[in-house]
């Protein structure tokens, strides 16, 4: 009646980087209009080096095997797919399956990306890693990987976040990382990224900036996405095995966008599957105190990429708000951005899900200037929820 034995899935953790998909950016990291590199020239050499080393690692069996081995024996991949029948009942009879990235070592999907980048750091011969963190999940994952591989680790964290997430600060310190409370700006995640970028510009020779989400300058959005593609690759196989068909909907919360693109990616070419991203609603989108960058943001360049931002009429970043420290970020990654419907439907500032489209994002014409307002058939939705998101 029930099948038993270990979780069976054919995908390896490294498959997302080993096998490029049909949804690649152009060679300078543009997903349509979005992405790219909006960073000081001082960082370009490091980004180029990272791109080269990453591209080489993707084809290197030894690297891929090491990544697979760590994800199997250290992270605990594959992560299970859990039926949530009581939630489904509560939701009116849906069959809801949870992809259990929370069961990974360090407690979130973040480790998928972190281990990959930490191994690349070693390949580049760098001995020092810096990272930003909001909730502390990425910081903990990074501190953990650095402890594993013997790398020096400095984590920048907004002072506000160090207070509300004191437990994760303690974990990082226990793991040997230096946690630097960032006192500038809004003293949250975005300022931690600013500070990490400043450190990077200064120490780029010996330092890798281990960015924690599918944002930032090229190659980060693509690389982070690919390191997380295993989420969707596994989930797709698991749901087919368990249910015998593809799901109607795949949903994910969107902070920077790494977990969302990680699971969505495997379903982009499945026309019957709706992809729904949930953004932090904060006090409600209409109040302006929220983190719904895709729903209520506009295109802009922040932290190295052109993407959707919460910004005022002058292009100054607006502070985001969420009950979840981990989703409290005023932008999200360009690779999620590329599938957004250009244009502003009338629901833009109402609490309704916002429509996205799933356009092929590869090698779209560049410099196509501002978004047109042509509405596109919806297959991806972006919703906001007052209290969505991880609690830790």
């Amino acid at each position: 009646m029930f099948e038993n034995g270990p979780v069976s899935t054919k995908s390896r953790a490294s498959d997302g980087i080993a096998h490029p998909s049909d949804h690649e950016p152009d060679e300078r990291g543009h997903f349509g209009r979005y992405g790219g590199r909006f960073v000081p020239e001082a960082l370009i050499a490091a980004l180029d080096e990272l791109t080269t080393v990453y591209d080489k690692a993707r084809g290197d069996r030894e690297f891929l095997d090491e990544l697979d081995r760590l994800h199997r024996d250290y992270t605990g991949r594959p992560s299970p797919l859990t039926d949530a029948p009581r939630l489904g009942e509560h939701a009116g009879g849906a069959r809801i399956l949870l992809k259990r990235e929370d069961l990974n070592h360090t407690g979130s999907h973040k480790i998928n990306n972190v281990l990959g980048q930490a191994l690349l750091t070693k390949r580049m011969g760098k001995k020092r890693v810096i990272a930003e963190t909001g909730a502390g999940q990425h910081g903990v994952a990074t501190a953990t990987a650095c402890a594993l591989l013997g790398l020096e680790c400095v984590v920048y964290m907004g002072e506000v976040d160090t207070e509300r997430q004191a437990l994760n600060v303690a974990r990082m310190r226990l793991l040997g990382a230096k946690v630097v409370p960032v006192k500038s700006g809004s003293r949250t995640l975005k300022d931690a990224i600013n500070e990490a970028l400043r450190d990077w510009v200064t120490n780029v020779d010996e330092t890798h900036y281990l960015l924690g989400t599918a944002a930032g300058p090229h190659p980060f959005p693509t690389m982070v996405r690919d390191l997380h593609r295993i989420i969707g690759l596994e989930a797709r196989e698991q749901v087919l095995e368990r249910v015998g068909r593809l799901p109607d909907v795949v949903a994910a919360c969107v902070g920077g966008g790494s977990n969302a693109i990680g699971i969505f990616h495997a379903f982009i070419d499945d026309p019957g599957v709706r992809l729904v991203g949930f953004e932090p609603g904060g006090d409600g989108v209409s109040t302006g105190r929220h983190g719904a960058t895709l729903t209520a943001g506009s295109p802009g360049a922040l932290h190295g990429a052109l993407s959707y931002l919460l910004q005022d009429d002058d292009g100054q970043t607006i502070e985001s708000h969420s009950i979840s420290a981990g989703l409290d970020y005023p932008a999200s990654g360009p690779s999620t951005r590329c599938s957004r419907t250009w244009g502003a439907p009338s629901t833009a500032r109402s609490p309704m899900p916002r429509r996205w489209t799933r356009s092929r994002c590869s090698r779209a014409p560049r410099g196509s200037s501002r978004p047109s307002s042509r509405p596109t058939p919806s297959r991806v939705r972006c919703a906001w929820a007052r209290s969505s998101g991880p609690t830790r």
Binding site: R28, G36, R37, F38, V39, P40, E41, A42, L43, I44, A45, A46, D48, S184, G185, K190, D191, N194, L197, R198, V201, T202, N203, V204, D205, S298, P299, G300, A301, L302, H303, G304, L306, L309, Q311, D313, D314, G315, Q316, T317, R366, G367, S369
Partner: protein, 264 residues
């Protein structure tokens, strides 16, 4: 020849380096910044670099961050930079704007270029925009006759120096050190080498910035570069000594750039 380049050539003709002084528009207030910038001109700055205060200034150290915060808290709006440029230009100053890219993008790249040119601005320094991403800005700056000053760094490859210089108009901005803005005790040892590497790829004047705060340092930089760019030190001078302090620092630095012979 572009407006900015002429300033450098003028200094060179006098056998000295050009002095470029930075202060954020709107610091400590809009009127206050006009006064400070005017004092810079009076003290002997050849070119003003008028900064746009921005919420996320990743290339700036604490001194300039704090000044930008002060300006934003005092109510600085993006359009204020145009009036600041207009007023200092009217008073005889020659100004470029230094800005992170997002405010420009938000304003509209072409609209910004048009309005800045109309206000008398000569060009824009873009610390987080590389030529690779600058198609729209290249077009707009061409359309409105603005100089565009890109940056090179000690980590830039020969190839990138060449392409960056090719896209640049006015002067090429060489960051003398890896790092963010902030006055330093010593000018980084990487600077002369970087400038020498740039000379191999371009005839543009080369300005060196990041860390200069004294006449001696200015003299040292003017010994191998065409212009000396000073930022944080002016903010500190404004903080502690107001317009008088800024005027005095400009005068001191102007003395510095005159001390050493300009490179051939």
């Amino acid at each position: 020849m572009s407006g900015v380049q002429q300033i450098f050539e003028g200094a060179r003709a006098e056998g000295r380096g050009a002095l470029v002084g930075y202060l954020p528009a709107g610091y400590p207030t809009v009127d206050g910044s006009v006064e400070l910038l005017s004092a810079m001109v009076e003290g002997g700055c050849d070119l003003l670099e008028v900064g746009i205060p921005y919420s996320d200034p990743v290339m700036d150290g604490p001194t300039i961050q704090a000044a930008a915060d002060t300006a934003l808290r005092a109510g600085f709006r993006l359009r204020d930079v145009l009036s600041v440029v207009e007023r200092v230009s009217a008073a005889g100053g020659r100004a470029v704007v230094m800005t992170y890219y997002n405010p420009v993008l938000r304003y509209g790249v072409d609209a910004f270029a048009r309005d800045l040119a109309a206000a008398g601005g000569l060009g824009v320094i873009t610390p987080d925009l590389i030529p690779d991403e600058a198609d729209e800005w290249l077009a707009a700056s061409d359309a409105h006759g603005l100089d565009r000053i890109f940056l090179v760094a000690p980590s830039s490859t020969e190839e990138r120096i060449a392409t960056t210089a090719a896209a640049t108009r006015g002067f090429l901005y060489a960051t003398s050190t890896m790092g963010v803005t902030g006055a330093r005790d010593a000018v980084a040892t990487a600077a002369p080498g970087l400038v020498a590497r740039c000379r191999a790829h371009t005839a543009l004047p080369i300005g060196v910035g990041l860390g200069v705060r004294s006449a001696d340092q200015a003299a040292e930089v003017a010994g191998f570069a065409d212009g000396v760019i000073v930022g944080s030190a002016f903010v500190t001078a404004a903080e502690t000594g107001g317009a008088g302090g800024v005027r005095a620092l400009a005068a001191e630095l102007a003395g510095g750039v005159r001390r050493a012979p300009a490179p051939a």
